[in-house]
């Protein structure tokens, strides 16, 4: 057998198999069960305990490249909070962030929720770490107009908000920097806010030490985290539907790694 050939499979074959492994279960779901991890359950429990009328801050720190991982998390948490009557204020330290916040809120506007009362999109503040510190300590003082050009201080939802401690929780939807590190360095460490992170899967290892130290109260990791949150809510949605495809994609990658290694060792054996 030509083991060398198996070590150099044409990338087009790999891509086609990967697309088939993800497309087929998306059209015909298998229904692999999703279990809820401890961190997602803690995240859900905290959000579930927030009384109606309280406010939660979403920091939308990601761009289009992180959206497939993070938007499902934001959708799941937003749905939970809206169902409970908790108000949501969004801010962004990435310039793409307000666009995703706007898309998220439009869905609920169509359902009768009111902009400025039930949620608001404060837009984007440039300046990275410095901007996060300023916003953390003086919310209304650091942003004068929202994404829709309304005066921020005139929005009913901003009543009683001085600094980020006035939010029941701050959730950073993060794909990199500025994001989790800066929030922890400049706001969580000094003001002691209830800080949560919903990040791209690739960022989970960097965030885990902060979960262990308690600086992050709970973490949702990527689409899997979104699926766990939907399951905890008892409302399986888009993220749960994609878990079959994700699992089959992983199995395929594992198979390719195994084939590559078997071929490598067999080739070595044959050469002897």
């Amino acid at each position: 057998m030509d083991w060398k050939k198996l070590q150099n499979i044409d990338r087009r074959i790999i891509y086609i198999l990967l697309i088939l492994a993800t497309v087929i279960p998306m059209i015909n779901p298998i229904g692999i069960p999703v279990s809820v991890g401890a961190s997602a359950q803690k995240f859900y429990n905290f959000m579930d305990a927030i009384p109606a009328g309280d406010k939660v801050l979403f920091s939308m720190d990601f761009a289009a490249s992180g959206a497939p991982d993070i938007v499902p998390e934001a959708k799941a948490v937003m749905q939970h909070l809206m169902d409970k009557g908790v108000k949501v204020v969004a801010i962004a330290f990435w310039d793409n962030g307000p666009m995703f916040a706007d898309q998220l809120m439009k869905t609920y506007e169509d359902q009768g929720f009111e902009y400025g009362v039930d949620f608001a999109n404060l837009g984007y503040i440039p300046g990275g770490e410095t901007a996060i510190k300023r916003f953390g300590e003086d919310v209304v003082g650091s942003v004068s107009k929202d994404f829709r050009n309304n005066s921020v201080s005139s929005l009913p939802i901003m009543e009683g908000i001085k600094d980020t401690r006035d939010f029941a929780a701050v959730i950073d939807f993060a794909a990199g920097n500025p994001g989790t590190d800066e929030w922890i360095r400049q706001v969580q460490g000094t003001l002691g806010i209830n800080f949560f992170v919903a990040c791209a899967t690739v960022s989970v290892p960097q965030a885990m030490p902060f979960v262990n130290s308690g600086q992050i109260t709970a973490l949702l990791g990527g689409m899997r985290g979104a699926a766990e949150y939907e399951t905890a809510m008892g409302k399986p949605g888009g993220a749960v539907a994609k878990m079959d495809a994700q699992s089959l994609g992983h199995l395929l990658i594992i198979a390719f790694i195994a084939i590559g290694n078997i071929a490598f060792f067999m080739d070595k054996k044959q050469a002897r």
Partner: protein, 202 residues
Amino acid sequence: MNISDSIWVWIGALGTIAIFSFVFKENPVYRFCEHLYVGSAAGYAISVNLKSIVDSAWTPITQEGKIVLIIPVIFGLLLYARFFKNIAWLSRWPMSFLVGVGSGLAIYGVVNSQLIAQVRASLLPLTSVNNVVMVIGLLSILLYFFFSMEHTGGVKHAASVGRWIMMVTFGVSFGNVVMSRISLLLGTMETILGKWLGLIAL
């Protein structure tokens, strides 16, 4: 099958397929879409940043009488002095200010939140397997990067444990990268199969 009648969904879906065509071979359609994406992303960034300048500087100065904001505006403009040879040195003033403020903020934050808090979180009682693994991992990796003594005997073995633990950590990171990339693929497939072709529920 319920194909979308929105032109924007069609543009998004066809653009995605054009970008995927790179998998087979680089081609003019791929290059066109790549440039279109870079251009539109730059245009969006410029418009959002301009809005930020108008909201946080122009409007407060011209309509709310916050004249003091002229100082940061002048500092900001001085950054562009570097494009003019004879006054390029002026750009060092705002740069020095930015570096000073940035360093001051970062040093306090890093020491307080990323060093002291992390060290405190690592001082764990050895009462569970998790804690034992965590403490052994931490100490052995620190020893691996301790170059003030020769890595022989017991130190060599302990450092080697640290190396193995790092390898496992890299494996975990790679696993997360794979998972993240498949999520990206699923996101684009959702656009094509759901929003565009209407084959799956959104």
